[in-house]
Amino acid sequence: MSAALLSIQRIAKRYPGVQALADVSFDVRQGELLAIVGENGAGKSTLMKILAGVIPDFGGELRLREKPVRFTGTRDAEAAGISIIHQELNLVEQLSAAANIFLGREKRNRFGLLDQGAMDREAARLLEELECKIDARRPVGELRVGDQQLVEIAKALSIHADVLIMDEPTSALTESEVARLFRVIARLRHRGVTILYISHKMDEVFQLADRIVVLRDGRLVEVVERAAATPRGITHLMVGREIEETDLSRPRAMGATVLEVRNLSLPWPGHARRWRLENVSFDLHRGEIVGIAGLMGAGRTELLECLFGASDLRPSGSIRLGGKHVDFKHPAEAKRAGMALVTEDRKRFGLFAEMNVGQNVTVCTLDQATRGGLVSGRVEAEQARGIVHRLNVKTAGIEARITSLSGGNQQKAIIGRWLLTEPQVLLLDDPTRGVDVGAKAELYRLMDALCREGLGILVTSSELPELLTVCDRILVLCEGRLTAELSRAEATEQRIMEAATARQPATTQ
């Protein structure tokens, strides 16, 4: 048995009000690929940030090659050979790939000036090694996400990291990019690099890992050899209970067409693709859930924004809501017409962190709670309590801070905000992102119930099994074009992925 390269001993981390990690201990062996799995909020990312020096204050001890270490910053950790590739990449978009790779460690010539040539050459060599066929002098912002990620890996290689932490590296990659990443991982392992791989995708974990660390609620549940584990068993360990199979199979009755979209196009000035959305047409009926699948950047969010009048540029094409032609210039108009949008990024586009639960819930319909022009606290509280109760939002009360709620309950509060507007069409942009498994099932049931009440729901998701569970139909977007429309019976992960990666050859002028 090989010696422990990195020993994690009784690590603990407390944030105000949350014990993010408690008493986590395990060893990382030299040269292995250790997968770290757990639900959202299990403490995976916190642990990795501690290892990479991003979080300098924590309880417990780290031993690297038997010597205790305590990193005071990422530079410190990098000097010790530990490098992290965050899920949200950490690159300066305006700088070239080479400049990013050497950021903070720029090569200098005899006169103390930047040695651009040497950096470009070295960067090109590193990228070559990673099968990344890009010009190292191009600004990173112009690169595809997959290539950007390789720039980060090249950076890690350039500092001779022998421990590489990857936080959900495939979440934004196409199939071929994932395959390339896996080849790169194999090559890194061949060189003896130890890899800590965070993921919640079981197939990846079982394809790559030697051992699997399972975290739950900030605690270590178990470290298992891959050979001795099954995906089902790992999921069980992650959740701590059997996942209830949500039975949504009871057929729903589809009503009249509520939303008709024809030839919707959204321009993308200055971009090679020219269109963020191109000639998208589809119908949505009352009592129907239609899913929108596609890779990151396929135009899912843009489609919902266009329908809601929230896009920066105006789309062309026609949208009919309840039979009437609509052309929203502002979300306020969409709201009035009976459209509701629950945004993808709760924190940035949904929550009012400084406000309490009640205020967050009533923000769209506060004008209905006025008496003589002034807001009636009593009517507002009734409004808020009613919907909080109806959606079963778990909160200490409507006076509680919205940020004190779990992700799933925050999401329910925002859905509640929009249900108060009594919409005809509900647009849900990746509603279960950052929501734990139990709350996901509850959101599915909520969507099903709303749908049965006659609402038309359009939902996007980055997780295909989710769409396959809840949707009557699935539309697949690829680079802004609708490449497939699959009924529940036709849809399989395989078919969706094929359509999602069915790019046109990039020769069209």
């Binding site: 502002h330 979300p331 586009f349 949904g350 009012f352 205020q359 923000v363 506060l366 004008d367």
Partner: protein
């Protein structure tokens, strides 16, 4: 019995928790007033006169601090108030001069304008304030300038424009020709700024109106929402452009009201110096009163107390030093803003005073700078010996702090390596 007592204390605690900032300010205000009463004769000898003067000054600042607070709560910033004050004074005086009856020599006579002319002048000035706010809103929401830039341009531009305008107006209207000031002698008008209770009443009425707007109307809630998260507000169907228009108009119009009052106070429109630097006083009062420059946080009550606190401290220093408060005002405002924001940030970060304040070379230099600053200010206020004591004392205390921080960080790293 017991449980109701428990409930009432928990209710008290809840109120104290929600309004800790306001309570803290109230205590601070009382402390400063008490200290000034003890150390200076002025408050004991003429309590009524001093109280009236502080209230008058507080109200004058308070009027446009309310506007500044609303803009800050809505997530913006208005740097133009000082110049809007000067510009509004000039506009108001120019209208009066233009409408004033002529005396025997044919010169405009502003001794007895009559309420009609005064009302027209005030209405015209408020209209100008509305137009300035509208221009800001257009630059910010349509052209897409950052609020900082749009209102900074007004800060620089409007004062200059007011100076040119006063010279042009006097050239045309005054037989004596071009001057840099316009004098208004009407007693009824001047009373607006000199009678202590008139600014106070205006301030209180505006405060109540602003409080109702922010706390009891849909628009007010939406202002908070926009300040807290503009994207989320827009995506919730809130017309953020309209709200910004309202906020910047309130910012400019409250400054216009203050401009009229300041001009009435001295009976002179003198745009070269009037309201100079006042924008920072207003922002300071709002920030000290608990408004967050990130937006979405703040109250009218807090802002009112912030204004009172600022004026009370300025007045206390003036009384203790026994010179004009004007020179010291900037120092006080600067120090209070840094302390208020630092205090809020430390509370938010949760680390409190355990934070390392003087790391490395930067910390060393900061110790020197703070000691020299404290020493020299004290020297100027209380003489050389007091200054020397403060200088040496600051060095000793801060150096001891640095040493303690250094030891603590050494201990932390040793604890790991042993």
């Amino acid at each position: 019995m017991n449980s109701s007592a428990g409930e009432s204390t928990s209710l008290l605690r809840r109120i104290a928790g929600q309004h800790s900032n306001e309570l803290g300010l109230l205590v601070a205000i009382l402390a400063v007033v008490a200290a000034t009463t003890i150390f200076s004769d002025a408050y004991r000898e003429k309590p009524l006169q001093n109280a009236q003067e502080i209230l008058r000054q507080t109200s004058l600042l308070g009027v446009f601090a309310l506007g500044a607070a609303i803009v800050i709560i809505s997530g913006g910033i208005d740097l133009s108030s000082g110049s809007v004050i000067a510009f509004s004074g000039a506009i108001c005086a120019s209208i009066m001069l233009a409408l004033a009856p002529h005396d025997a020599s044919g010169a405009p006579d502003t001794n007895n304008l009559g309420l009609g002319i005064i009302a027209v002048a005030i209405a015209g000035t408020l209209l100008v304030g509305f137009l300035i706010g509208t221009l800001h809103a257009w630059l910010i929401t349509v052209v897409g300038l950052p609020p900082f830039v749009a209102t900074l341009a007004s800060l620089v531009g409007l004062r200059s424009l007011a100076r040119v305008m006063v010279q042009e107006v006097t050239t045309v209207l005054m037989p004596t020709g071009r001057t840099t000031q316009i004098y208004i002698y009407d007693n009824a008008f001047n009373a607006l700024g000199t009678r202590w209770w008139i600014p106070l009443v205006i301030f209180l009425v505006l405060s109540v109106a602003c409080w109702v707007l922010l706390s009891r109307t849909v628009v007010g809630r939406h202002l908070y929402a926009m300040g807290g998260n503009e994207n989320a507000a827009r995506l919730s169907g809130i017309r953020t452009d309209h709200l910004k228009w309202l906020a910047y108009c309130l910012g400019a119009m409250t400054s216009s009201i203050a401009g009229i009052l300041y001009m009435a106070e001295v009976g002179t429109a003198y745009p070269a110096v009037q309201g100079l630097g006042y924008e920072l006083n207003a922002i300071a009062a709002a920030v000290v009163g608990g408004c967050s420059l990130q937006g979405g946080v703040g109250t009218i009550g807090g802002t009112m107390l912030g204004v009172v606190f600022l004026r009370v401290v300025i007045d206390a220093v003036a009384k203790l030093v026994k010179v004009g408060a004007d020179e010291y005002q900037g120092i006080i405002v600067g120090v209070l803003v840094v302390l208020a924001v630092a205090f809020n940030e430390l509370r938010r970060a949760g680390g409190g005073l355990r934070k390392q304040f003087f790391p490395g070379v930067l910390g060393l230099l900061a110790i020197g700078i703070l000691s020299v600053l404290g020493g020299s200010v004290t020297t100027m206020m209380f003489g050389r010996s007091a200054g020397a004591i403060v200088f040496v004392g600051a060095i000793v205390v801060l150096a001891a702090r640095k040493l303690a921080e250094y030891r603590a960080s050494r201990r932390a790293s040793q604890a790991v390596s042993s």
